[in-house]
Amino acid sequence: MRYALLINERPGAYVGLSADERAAITAEYIALRHDERVFAGRRLEPADTATTVRAAGGELLLTDGPFADTKEIFGGFYLVEADNLDVAVELAARIPAVRMGGSVEIRPLAEY
């Protein structure tokens, strides 16, 4: 089974952390990326760099910022290969965002 682990971060989760603490968290993300079950993963640039595209009355409409204002901000993802949901949950639980007030949504990848 292949799953996407969609990482939502709490805004301001990194505020007040020292450079060392930030580096330790980044190292955790990199270590997860190197787990043999993780076959892809990316961190996104902050939400204030986002551009949202919509169609309105036959024209493209661009807005500055993410799709929706939410309490959590989509910050990156891993794609993983796991035997079942329990294994995917174990991997998701190791993502630092979980203990930093964010969340991880696990979604099975559709198979064609």
Partner: protein, 386 residues
Amino acid sequence: MLDQVFRDEWPRVLASLTGFLGDIDLAEEAAQEAFAVAAERWGRDGPPASPRAWLVVTGRNRAIDRLRRDRVLAEKTRLLDQGRSAEVTADETSIPDERLELVFLCCHPALAPEAQVALTLRSLGGLSTSEIARAFLVSDETMKRRLSRARNKIRAAAIPFAVPRADLLPARLSAVLSVLYLIFNQGYGDGRPDLAAEAIRLGRLLTDLLPDQPEVPALLALMLLHDSRRASRTRDGELVPLPEQDRRAWDTAQIGQGRALLDRATALGARGPYAVQAAIAALQTEPEIDWPAVAALYGRLRDLVGSPVVELNRAVAIAETDGPAAALATVDALDLDHYRYFHSTRAELLRRLGDVAAARAAYRKALDLATTDPERRFLRRRLTEL
């Protein structure tokens, strides 16, 4: 007779088919077909020597035939073909008991609580979709959708058909126990003894399957002790409070079983909320209730679960040990204005203190919030007696 066999065998057959087919949806269909064939054939020719093996083999063969016809699942069919010849001769001993795997599948925390409850009643209790719908006051259509959504998620998200690893077992088991307790309370609170009985049946099953887990017999003890007083909880359609219940109507054999299970749970090291509640329920079936012990146990339960409702119950015990004034002080410190038993408890205490006007106001509030007729009748009678 056949109905009883079907009910007993359903969870085992379904579990076995789920394990074999790797899909609870297919397993459910296959099991239904096998039971339908059995109903027809056994009624005519009598049951086979080994009913369970017969049902499992028939279910497997039906599923394989179905898969063969279904080209989308052709790959699975090839997989299943390899094992077929051996299964036809399967007997009881060659079929592993996979009910525990089924329990943990149905009560997986990735499923919504109401889906866990419905799936448990359907898969392990063998209740029909309509029976479950009636028990939870939703339409057949809603319940059907709820079940098929749950089965679909199990397949799409690959929720495992497995007993969790030892380090994950306590947390997962506690999810299973809350599903059983929810089913029990639905039956007990709303006067559906069939659901309470079903929860007890599942509790017994789990006690057999997990004999070393202390919280399982603790929950079973709690359910048995509460259920033993069922016949005396209402009289002429009116709720009867514990001190006024007719003790001759209590099921003493069941009380004995409950106590024995509580002893076993305690010996295994059960110290959780179910064990404490079972201990309270056991004390409440004594000829002379040891109220200081009841109050102390409620204190422990409050520390375990941190709920103001527990504190409300502790106040009832305090009324017996320290008098209604001390109990009222405890009750009035609670923020439970929306809760019907808060007002009925206050009303009882005020009545005992002789404050008729305040008692009347509290009974009226309780009456406004009451959800069942037996409760309303009891409160109305109290109001007229003031």
